[in-house]
């Protein structure tokens, strides 16, 4: 099941890269986080690590439901443009995405003996794809979603490659994420004041 959820996690990220509508992007981010949270729950069952359970639930609730909802509220409040065409054309994007995936699998070639090697390469690929998402959009909201998807890639790596990071660090990351969202909101407030 973990493989399935991680596969779906990656597919939502790729779809987000190709989307041209803002609310759809929030939806793909929410789904991306939900699949990540479900994968974390599967890992919890496998490892019986309580910290992973807390992180999985926080991911499902905060990133999967609350943040997309908050972002939609912000977008409505600030009358944000909903059409967000990416700067990279579709034909180039569909060449770039597999190239990134192949490159990251090539990158982990020397560590093929390690457990979770595929997850490491998928996490690095997700990180690069999120960077592409940030680069290819001019709209601030799309950039912010790219940054949050990058956080998801980090969580995927932490969960699969290390079998769970220390709880304190994970909570620190969640705290920082929330603070980042507060800062983003306040920056929007100032922009529209």
């Amino acid at each position: 099941m973990t493989n399935l959820f991680i596969g779906l996690f990656l597919s939502t990220l790729i779809t987000a890269l190709l989307t041209t509508r803002l609310y759809r992007l929030f939806l793909w981010y929410g789904l991306n986080s939900i699949f990540l949270g479900l994968a974390a729950l599967e890992q919890y069952k496998l490892l019986d690590d309580k910290a992973l359970l807390i992180s999985a639930l926080l991911t499902l609730l905060l990133k999967g439901l609350l943040l997309p909802y908050l972002f939609k509220l912000f977008a409505l409040k600030f009358h944000t443009e909903r059409n967000i065409p990416p700067k990279i054309r579709l034909q180039y994007a569909i060449l770039l995405i597999p190239a990134i995936l192949v490159f990251t699998f090539y990158l982990i070639n020397p560590i093929l003996h390690l457990p979770g090697k595929n997850y490491i390469s998928l996490s690095i690929a997700s990180l690069f794809l999120s960077l592409v998402l940030i680069i290819e959009h001019k709209a601030i909201f799309a950039k912010v979603i790219g940054f949050l998807m990058m956080e998801n890639a980090l969580f995927l790596l932490g969960m699969t490659a290390t079998e769970g990071m220390p709880m304190l660090i994970e909570l620190g990351i969640f705290f920082d994420l929330l603070m980042a969202v507060v800062v983003i909101n306040l920056l929007f407030e100032v922009e529209h004041a």
Partner: protein, 468 residues
């Protein structure tokens, strides 16, 4: 003792919610209180706190002292900020609030033994900086605050990604202790997958390089420092970059133990590319802020290559000298740009009275010290640093290639040297003389930083002990 470091900063944070016009005279005194625990830590043996997650060793004692001096100088200079720029009392309060948070984040990341805490501190400092940039209410500053938010968080995320990979590489043999710098250092040979560690280090390094404005992100930091009020630039160069460099020193020491040749190759190529771009950007620069900002990148490059080449003393001396000189120059820009940002000609003319003359002399000395003219501490650090690089080249299998690299660095540095001398002469001998006003608080800040720079010349033994 470590916890006392946070007390004065928490007090500044609390005071920032009240009428800062009344309390701002006390703020430099409150920030000076940081020196008490910092000095006491200097004379206490190395210690670990909070289940080994924080630590006090020779390196971070030194960095904390440097940062405390810079922090106090910036608090002093903040007193006269409203004379040079238009700032409302509300934004003034906000600046102090996020300045205190920024400093707390910086202390956390400098004293961190856990890589995770190092990252959390850095993130706290990064997010609080967004608000300090936003105290300037111009559209340009607003745009740059967004840029900082996006690029800064990308850099921070890359660092975290690298930390997770490093943790993953060592966890099978060290367990949860793989998060600690000290555990990694003492059991480096037991690391399960050196390749994974190296990928992790590359991510940490690239994230840190982006934060410091290395290739290919050379201009983003300069633009942000241009957009923000000048004390933000002083804090960047004195505190934030110190925290990042300290972290990078620790990570590179680990990477060096694993595979020195990979580390040297990676760092030298990156450093050369950065220096190549920066030297020409400096050559074309037209305002003080960008000049000092780009020169900051040049010095970060030098510190890093001195450190990875084994010139620990040179790197630490260069680090401290830069941490004092660059904030001093950034604080001076408030006065130097009083006639507009592109008026370099005659910028060092028109200062009357004792304060004015002192300001003029100090800025002239800082300008000459930053290009490593003797007896600047930077002259000695570059002397020892380049010696370390040549020693490394002599012992390597790529002698000619490394000597060519060193020669290229020297040529690029000479372009920067020429530009600074040209700017200094334009400031001193060209342009019209117009009366300018200097305030006691900023002169006080410059005197403090000048004394600290002079004290470095007498602290070689102390710094050498840390490097050793």
């Amino acid at each position: 003792m470590l916890e006392y470091l946070f007390l004065p900063l928490s007090l500044i944070f609390v005071l920032s919610f009240f009428d800062v016009q009344k309390s701002k005279k006390y703020l430099p005194i409150i920030s000076s209180l940081v020196l008490v625990p910092t000095f006491m830590l200097l004379f206490t043996p190395d210690r670990h706190y909070w289940h080994d997650r924080l630590m006090i060793d020779d390196l971070n004692k030194f960095v904390l002292l440097v940062c405390a001096i810079v922090g106090i100088a910036v608090t002093l200079a903040l007193e006269s900020l409203r004379h040079h720029v238009k700032i409302s009392p509300r934004h003034y309060r906000r600046f102090y609030r996020f300045f205190a948070l920024f400093w707390i984040g910086m202390i956390l990341s400098v004293t961190a033994n856990s890589m995770g805490i190092f990252w959390v501190g850095l993130e706290l400092a990064t997010l609080s900086t967004v608000y300090m940039i936003k105290t300037n209410t111009t559209p340009f500053a607003h745009k740059e605050a967004w840029n900082y938010m996006i690029v800064g968080t990308i850099a921070i995320s890359l660092i975290l990604f690298g930390i997770i990979l490093i943790y993953a590489s060592a966890k099978p043999s060290l367990g949860e202790e793989a998060m600690l710098f000290t555990a990694l250092k003492s059991h480096i040979s037991r690391i399960h997958s050196a390749y994974l560690f190296e990928i992790g280090f590359a991510f940490v390094a690239v994230g840190s390089f982006i934060k410091m404005g290395f290739f290919p992100m050379n201009l983003w930091l300069a633009n942000i420092e241009r957009a923000a009020y000048y004390p933000v630039a002083a804090l960047f160069s004195g505190l934030l970059e110190s925290a990042i460099v300290t972290g990078l020193f620790r990570f590179s020491s680990l990477a060096k133990e694993l595979n020195q040749s990979h580390l040297i190759g990676f760092t030298y190529i990156y450093a050369l590319l950065t220096l190549f771009v920066v030297a020409f950007l400096i050559y074309r620069v037209k305002d003080f802020m960008r000049l000092f900002s780009l020169s900051g990148i040049e010095h970060m490059v030098l510190m890093l290559i001195f450190w990875v080449s084994g010139g620990y003393f040179a790197a630490l001396l260069h680090f401290a000298a830069h941490a004092f000189l660059k904030p001093a120059l950034f604080i001076s820009t408030g006065v130097l740009e009083s006639r507009g940002k592109y008026h370099i000609a005659g910028a060092l003319k028109g200062y009357k009275g004792f304060k004015g003359r002192l300001f003029q002399i100090l800025v002239a000395l800082f300008m000459l010290a930053i290009i490593s003219l003797p007896p600047s501490p930077m002259f000695f650090s570059e002397l020892f640093g380049f010696s370390a690089m040549i020693d490394l080249a002599k012992g390597s299998h790529h002698l000619l290639l490394m000597l060519f690299g060193i020669l290229t660095i020297l040529i690029l540095l000479s372009i920067i040297f020429y530009k600074f001398v040209d700017v200094y002469q334009t400031m001193r001998y060209e342009g019209e003389e117009r009366s300018k006003r200097v305030y006691a608080s900023e002169v006080g800040a410059l005197v403090l930083l000048a004394l600290a720079t002079l004290a470095l010349l007498g602290s070689f033994d102390f710094i050498e002990k840390i490097g050793g």
